[in-house]
Symmetry: D2
Subunit: 438 residues, 4 copies
């Protein structure tokens, strides 16, 4: 496998991605691999052994499972496909660490990942390092373009799990009355920029990814869409604005909510974003620095689509569509606060390098859109198990755009389509408003 | 209230509809009202007293509840709004027969509608006739355009419930080992027309309802959408075609299914459409004429969105979008088999007057589209309780187009947007394929 | 079958009963049969057709199902066993109306009895009358002692269902906001007798049924048991006494409750007996005469074992054991208010003919004992399906003694063992206290 | 606190126990305390850090929770009561490690014990050792008889948790496809003794604990009971005998089962004891030495009451009552295989010192009795939180007698009443038959 990867045939040879030789030319794939893998492990440094094991809900996974699953991905889709007669590290790990790939065989039930005391955390780190050595050897042996392409996919996959490790850990700790602390409290970044409405004219626009940089299959094909005139907010909605929604009875007025949202609010007793606690008139919020006073200047975070939608309706606005968000984001740099900074918390003020007509596009919170997660016109998932990576989830989920403070910097891009069910709240998800011009 | 209704201000005065004076000019509104109400009651003629009471699942309602709820709609939104100091027929009926209007106050829980032995069926018919008299008087007194508009909405609402009465009754009877019979078996309509692919060019098209004929609020505003080239099937998918899907392992191959669909299939043990029974190699199907041998020539019916989607993927095709369906249906007459014929069963051959490039658009089965149910750009629900009619359901549901054999003829139209969750199977829902041209 | 029944071999030939020829000598079995069957139907006179159909919870059954099931019992265990080549009334009725007899074959699921709109109520009455004719003929033909014995069992079985029809109807109506009325309100019977403690000395006592009168198999064998000294209350606990328990925080003090009882209380939000409603400081109770003010003088009714146990602990007492109750009841006449009187409500004062050291033993409410429902030493259920009548339920249930206002007079006796799970509240179940002497 | 404990006032001063000065005279209480506490920790030696954290079902608890809860017991009921102004080790540990004592305040929900990654295992060992030091100091300070009595109760409590740690760990590991191993495989102990029926005559017997040795409150008061003639099996039922039950369709014949048992069997798909696996005609069983071939000679283990009851009915026998078991066990030494031997597995042959008319009474498996868990006549739980230790569970559970291979030797005695719900299978529970003599 050559470090200067030049994939020959796009989607067919590299199922769920399209690597760009010009990007990888200047760094070695081996270095990139080591860097991503090491960063995953560095995220575990503040953890006690106990923290690797627990699973706080079905949607979340134990940290040790993330560590093993991302490794399994490389073993299954890179090593086993590239090395003739490949002998798996352990005969049961395919069963234990396959996430949702039906084509890869049966698997341990997701809700029971937290019951696996064995293999131990120690054994899982041994698994990681053994696979790392084999991947190193494979890269050194210049295996082939397809393997390199899937390897790159695996690194983006691992970056997705880096964010999930933080969100799952936060959820697991949030219920613990001891309020565990991952890092020190952050400095206050001051007031947010003033909110302005940016107007965009009616247009037939091009949407989706094109080119040789990496992108997931669901970002393609690039295609045209008609967008009527719209306005979009120059920054994210803040905690102060969300507090006004609460104070105005936002959680008690069904006319503001979708029917399914109102049912979810009632069934689960929602009266504030996830992790918020009220003590009389004082609000606090559970963060990676423990329980902290709520900062009104920060972007509101950990809201479901239903809450984002109700807030927008209350504000006389709506959520942007995917097409609107991607159109509006054109010309903005990929800049903000990312996981590498260790923040894991949305910032009030934009990052210094976040320059452009729109602020806080990336690096604070994912932004719910009004768009259900659907295939782009002409989309075909790649054949085989990797075709399950994105395609089979295109139902009952909503798209989020941008990137959060728990997203790796190199993972963020304008065409990225994140997606979660409308009741999900444990991701770093927030709100950017849009509206129809008068 | 004049029989020649001329609404003055469209959406604002007639919240969820836009009546067309040219339609109602030639018949009196009073006659229209009586006709729809009588037809509802005529649908009950084959029933035993017991059949009015049962509720076979949360999604379905007892027949007696439908009879009362449609009456409550007129009482609440027409009589109580038009008659100063209006005195309700019964103080508790608003609580018992409000379906889902939060703005109309608290309500009896939907899953417990089948526990209401009181009011009795006899009392509910008394309620109907008392309200009918009051509505008659109101019409005779020429109450006003708004009342007339809502009255017309109420009639379309009652027509929706005519179809639901049939689907709910069918569901309730389907589990009964005595296989109750509603009507005689139908004559065979012969072979379906051959299936052809009809091609449509790329276009910026206009979608949605415009004009003075009645339409629900969710069919507007009329707006532009970009449609790439597409092909659509000239007729519905048949039982024979669906049997080939089953024979090819369609229900055992996860790669054909959406993830949520595969989970639903497993959780509920689906291995055929609802109401199908296999006895060795012989298939039968529960119909309104009892249990009958499956006719391979008929359109497949009672499939969920998940099954329709899996079938389409298996067939190398996909489901059409709303935009594609509505574009393709242009120029076809609203013709087919409707509830007035007493069929309640999709027919193999098209109805004699079903002429146009596409067959079986209306009057056999609703056709699942690939489009989630969303607001059209610029959509605003009307204020007040009637704003809940459609708007709050715009999440987690898929649009169906066309009309079924249980739809009233005057209720079918090209821009009609029916919608159900992707796992719903008890409606007369079937499949029309689409695909991207080569 | 002779009307002067003389069973030859007791348990072996008449599995679950032991008829007493001296009892049946003076009336014809045919008359007894007709009388019980007619009384069942007379209980339905105040009902609307709708009332026969509903099933308000899994533990309850629709009235129409009771009417059919009791008929099925005679058809299955008397007719089909006595008549060679017997042809069932309907091939599916064994499936539909078998309650819980595994040996009698598969059956319609209990929680779905309320979904059976067919057979109709009219058809079920036809079924009853057809079976009645066949039983009449069988009796006239003097079929045999075994058949007569099972016929007598069937009549006691139908009497059990007479009480269940009332309790199930009451439960179904109780949730209906229209508060249906079965009969007129009852006259007040005045104040209860004063409560005294009656003391019984330590003794080795004989317990259980013996002799030729009818009894269920679970009342035998008669056997010895050791009872230490005990005291028992001369009358039932009253609503006034129970109100004092509530006022003293009875439902908020876990130390008064069994662990499972406290969990049930919390899970279901119990804060008063079933059917009680509080409006400020005023209590009302749903009765067969609709919603009525609570009468403090009446025996408390519709409490679970858990509540009875907690009340007793709060009162510094306990519930009596079966052995104690049966010992104490010796010498008291079987007198009280029974279903034939149409009361269906416990009375404050004892019935005029309720003379003995203990009042209100029969005819007001069943009395929870501290005894789990177990087999008496040496108990063997009869072979075959009728062995399932009682034996298989001897786990997880508590015994109630006495008889209620919904029990037929000829069905009450001192050795009768009623049994329900400790969380059941919809039966006419109340409290008689006991205690250890100082 | 003096090491020669002489409690002055029995139940009132030492709520749930009655220590025997003659037993504790020769060893110091401090040594006894250290010994029990050390043994608990020694049981953890084979565990990986991950094994302390998981909770495999609501009935089980994480090992770390057991370690903390047993410590909390001493802190709450000994230290905090004996030391004026006692300052808790951590303000939240009462909330986190209270098991079920309502009087001790609110508590962390039992089903979520497996979500507590904090406090860590390391911190919990620190907690143990800190409390151990304080208890040591308290003993050295000769605090008082009541404290000594509760301390002794706490040690028996911790011994109960030693057995639970093994059963919970086994359950947690049993689902793991890696089949973790706690200890080496055991030597085969050969064939069981032949089974004989031992007959006992009718008698008025004394039952329950008396004297100064430790016993739980539920073993008293000693009282009389009448026992008819009975026979009891000289040894436990074996795997071979249970295999014959299975081969004879034991799990497919409802007539052998209690109604609730049959429902449990169907709902959970039981077709063999817990931890048994069938591969064709070969059976294996998960043990603390991993997955092992089933030994037909060993006592059957990990059966529910329902299975024990069905097996007994199939065998033409029944389960013994508590009274029968305790009567039959008189004169047998407390001997067998206990947790100190590290077996954790029932043995085929009796232990060398297990001499007496009955074999395998102690040290192999607990033996289900036919007796529901009830208060003995005259039983009064002690006041306060310790009154919740046993009393509030006296409903819906069945008594088991004897002791298992996971019971500490000094914890076993003839009057011991273990109790579990009839569907529990994860304890070391087996079968000793009884029957009525011919």
């Amino acid at each position: 496998m050559d470090i200067n990867v030049t994939p020959r045939s796009g989607v067919m040879t590299a199922p769920a991605m399209r690597p760009n030789p010009s990007t990888v030319r200047d760094i070695t794939l081996a270095e990139h691999y080591r860097s991503v893998r090491r960063f995953t492990e560095s995220l575990c440094e503040p953890l006690a052994p106990d923290d690797f094991v627990i699973q706080s809900m079905t949607d979340a996974s134990p940290i040790k499972w993330h560590l093993a699953h991302t490794t399994w991905f490389f073993e299954t889709f890179v090593l086993a496909r590239s090395i003739p007669g490949y002998r798996p590290f352990h005969s049961l790990f395919n069963f234990l660490f396959n996430s949702y790939y039906d084509a890869a065989g049966p698997r341990w039930p997701r809700p029971q990942r937290g019951l696996l005391s064995r293999p131990t955390v120690t054994e899982i780190f041994q698994y990681r390092h053994a696979i790392d050595e084999r991947v190193d050897s494979l890269i050194a042996a210049r295996a082939g373009d397809d393997a390199a392409a899937i390897l790159l996919l695996g690194l983006h996959h691992e970056q997705q799990h880096q964010e999930l490790m933080i969100t799952d850990l936060k959820h697991g700790w949030s219920a613990n009355p001891l309020h565990p602390v991952y890092r020190d409290a952050l400095p206050d970044t001051g007031a947010p920029p003033p909110m302005r409405w940016l107007d965009f004219p009616e247009a037939l626009v091009w949407i989706g990814h094109e080119g040789r940089d990496f992108a997931f299959d669901n970002e393609a094909p690039r295609h045209r869409a008609f967008a009527a005139r719209f306005s979009i907010a120059s920054r994210l909605a803040t905690n102060a604005e969300y507090l006004a929604f609460i104070a105005d009875g936002g959680y008690a007025r069904p006319e503001l909510w979708l029917s399914d949202g109102w049912a979810a609010r009632n069934a689960r007793g929602w009266d504030a974003p996830l992790y918020w606690h009220r003590d009389g008139s004082k609000w606090s919020v559970f963060t990676m620095a423990g329980l902290r006073p709520l900062n009104p200047a920060e972007p509101v975070c950990h809201v479901s689509y239903y809450e984002a939608d109700a807030f927008a309706r209350w504000a006389g606005a709506r959520l942007p569509t995917e097409v609107e968000w991607e159109t509006a984001a054109a010309g903005n740099a990929i800049a903000g606060h990312f996981i590498e900074s260790g923040r894991f918390h949305p910032a009030a003020a934009a990052a210094p390098d976040d320059r452009g007509p729109l602020h806080q596009l990336y690096g604070d919170v994912w932004q719910w859109t009004a768009s259900p997660y659907l295939a782009y016109p002409g989309y075909r998932p790649p054949p085989g198990a990797l075709g399950e990576y994105n395609g089979k989830f295109m139902c009952n989920q909503m798209v989020l755009r941008g990137a959060s403070c728990a997203t790796p910097r190199s993972h963020a891009r304008r065409t990225y389509r994140n997606f979660f069910p409308p009741d999900a709240r444990w991701q770093f998800s927030g709100i950017r408003l849009a509206r129809d011009p008068d």
